[in-house]
């Protein structure tokens, strides 16, 4: 048997390479079919044009990109970034104590508490956003309660405002911030907190000097996981928004489903993707260098 051994281990190495390839093949196929090909067709489509008969025809032009870069589009882009940024901020603000509580005080109930965080996903997002309408409208629950308690005397205009859009987005994406924060805080070594206390640090100091820096990966992940989908959302501003609160996602959706201007919609989507990619990479680099400095 012994003379056979080198050959057999060699063929085993080759075989394992094939097995490896076979194992990643479904994933590669998936990425190719559902990411690369559609993206490539969007790129091609963005160079087309729509004629007067509403036919999309090849034009090999950069005209659609020129239209995207029109300064008129800047306000809606900035508005979308502002809403998405606020959404991230509020998700982190609300998600942090929630994640802290579950991670540090959840005890044996942790799985149940985590399930509760994810429970809203069992109901359609649209149904949940519609229910915010009934809460926020002029004769809705919130206004009714505030009027009844005598806090206000005139119903507040809550619905169809920037407030209601950011509120809806924050509500919708909260779990995306909570879960990464939970993971980060769960991993936190409790002895570090005791050490900080023993060395005379007050709770606030412990938080800012020990807990927060260590949870930074969770903060970054949670921030990105909420910012990216909020930036592209169109359902929330459409339902909860008013006349001047539509976001870039609505503009893109309008091109595809109403104006029948697929080429312009494609160019818009690609520019948005590019902008997001660049800003996220820049942000991660910034965070990375900040972390290494700390």
């Amino acid at each position: 048997m012994s003379p056979m051994e080198p050959a057999s281990s060699g063929s085993r190495r080759i075989a394992s390479r094939w097995v490896g390839l076979l194992l990643v093949a479904p994933f590669l196929l998936y990425v190719l079919t559902f990411l690369i090909l559609p993206l490539a067709s969007v790129v091609v489509l963005s160079t087309h044009q729509v004629n007067d008969q509403y036919h999309v025809e090849p034009a090999w032009t950069l005209d659609n990109y020129r239209r995207v870069l029109d300064p008129d589009n800047l306000p809606i882009l900035l508005r979308s970034a502002r809403y998405a940024g606020l959404t991230s901020f509020f998700c982190l603000l609300a998600g942090y104590p929630l994640a802290w509580f579950i991670a540090r005080h959840g005890g044996r109930h942790k799985p149940v508490l985590l399930l509760l965080v994810m429970l809203p996903f069992w109901t359609s997002y649209l149904v949940r956003i519609f229910s915010w309408m009934t809460l926020l409208q002029t004769e809705g629950l919130l206004n009714g309660a505030l009027l009844g308690l005598g806090v206000i005397h005139e119903p507040l205009a809550l619905l169809n405002t920037p407030f209601s859009v950011v509120l809806g987005l924050t509500y919708g994406f909260l779990p995306f911030a909570t879960l990464p924060l939970y993971v980060a805080l769960e991993r936190l070594d409790g002895t570090l907190l005791e050490a900080a206390a023993d060395l005379g640090a007050r709770p606030a100091t412990t938080f800012w000097k020990v807990v927060f820096p260590l949870s930074l990966p969770g903060v970054v992940a949670g921030g990105l996981l909420t910012f990216v989908p909020a930036m592209g959302d169109f359902v929330t501003p459409e339902i909860l928004g008013g006349v001047d609160t539509l976001m870039i996602g609505n503009l893109i959706q309008q091109q595809f489903l109403a104006s029948y201007d697929w080429p312009f919609g494609s160019a818009l989507s690609l520019v948005l993707m590019g902008l997001m990619l660049v800003s996220i990479l820049a942000f991660l680099k910034l965070v990375g260098s900040a972390e290494s400095l700390a």
Binding site: V42, Y54, V56, N73, P75, E139, A157, G242, A258, Y260
Partner: protein
């Protein structure tokens, strides 16, 4: 259901696309299998209609009578219908408004309806529409007008002018339609222009007027029935039948056709040229376009039907009110929405600009 819901839920995968390129790029979508997959041995029918535009039991009664299974989908804007039809979304029967019908016919997207049986009962007004004089490709279904739905308790007097929609006293309680033809059209008529204008200067003036109105406006939406009924919306650019529905649950709601003039519309059933089940589509039309089922539709939707014989079975309050069957002098002030031809692009641009690129965030000053 609301438009976003439909846009998400009604995302049918395209069939063989008109343009191979689009078809191929969307194969991925088709794989998701959002379609009502059809068993070839069972007869089925895919209907695409406006939301709230049929009686609740029309489809089930048809199914009980014929055994044909129906996949029923809704849209809330004609633009969505057009985008879907251009993709070849596999619908057998769709409802198109007059101007959209012209466009669909011009692009030869429709199939002739030779086996449809009930043309003779149509009201004279709709027997020979200019876009389809012999009703070869379309079956006029429901009709109505665009006007102002309002709340009598919250609005002073009768808002019988388009200016009422610019009334600062109703700030935050005004809605306009999320349909460029009606909203820009009403603004055009208010300024004394044709509601079908394709003049850039006139359209931009209409858009500027809407821009000035924006601080008063709650939303551009086609979902206003509930808001009117709950006193949330006081003034709405609205379609007559929708207001009738709101009025059914809130008697304070009323409707007026502005004196400057407005739009009348008729929506027609038609069969896309590439419909997979054209025979079932005709069977549905032959069932629906009879007095009894149509009267039920009118009673449920508030929109009068085109069939003269259906009128006798319609609810009395609809018959007496101008909402249901407006008197002739009111109708004389209305026009059909014309096919804009190449001018449609201009409307799209002005509409996009108004909806998305202006407002408090936009750079101020002369542009």
């Amino acid at each position: 259901m609301s438009e976003p819901v439909l846009r998400v839920l009604a995302a049918h995968p395209p069939g063989p696309g008109r343009r191979e390129f689009l078809g191929r790029s969307l194969t991925a979508l088709a794989w998701l299998g959002l379609c009502g997959c059809s068993d070839p041995s069972r007869r089925s029918l895919n209907i695409f209609n406006y939301s709230n535009y049929i009686a609740p039991d029309t489809v089930s009664r048809f199914r009980a009578q014929t055994g044909i299974a129906v996949v029923y989908d809704e849209f809330s804007s004609q633009d969505v219908l057009f985008a879907k039809l251009k993709l070849g979304a596999g619908y057998d029967l769709v409802v198109a408004s007059d101007y959209m019908l012209r466009r669909l016919l011009r692009q030869q997207l429709l199939a002739p309806l030779d086996d449809f049986a009930h043309r003779d009962g149509m009201m004279e007004r709709f027997r020979h529409p200019p876009w389809d004089p012999d009703l070869r490709f379309s079956v006029p279904y429901l009709w109505g007008t665009t006007g102002i739905g309002y709340n009598r308790r919250r609005v002073q007097g009768v808002p019988d002018s388009w200016n009422a929609l610019w009334d600062p006293a109703c700030r935050g309680h005004i809605t306009m339609l999320d349909e460029k033809r009606d909203t820009l059209g009403a603004s055009l008529i208010r300024l004394g222009h044709s509601g079908n204008s394709v003049s850039r200067a006139e359209l931009e003036a209409a858009s500027r007027a809407l821009e000035e109105q924006k601080p008063l406006v709650k939303q551009y939406t086609n979902d206003y029935i509930d808001g009117l009924a709950r006193n949330e919306i006081w003034l709405a650019l609205a379609w007559s039948g929708d207001v009738a529905r709101a009025r059914a649950s809130n008697p304070d709601v009323d409707y007026v056709l502005p004196r400057e003039g407005s739009f009348v519309f008729v929506d027609s059933w038609c069969v896309p040229r590439e419909a997979p089940h054209p025979r079932e589509a005709i069977a549905f039309l032959n069932y629906l376009m009879q007095p009894e089922p149509l009267a039920q539709v009118t009673n449920a939707t508030g929109f009068p039907s085109t069939l003269a014989g259906a009128r006798r079975r319609v609810r009395a309050d609809l018959l007496e009110n101008p909402l249901g069957y407006p008197p002739q002098d009111m109708l004389d002030r209305t026009v059909f929405q014309a096919d804009l031809g190449p001018g449609e692009r201009l409307w799209d641009q002005v509409w996009d600009q108004l909806k998305f690129r202006s407002g408090p965030d936009a750079p101020q000053g002369p542009s």
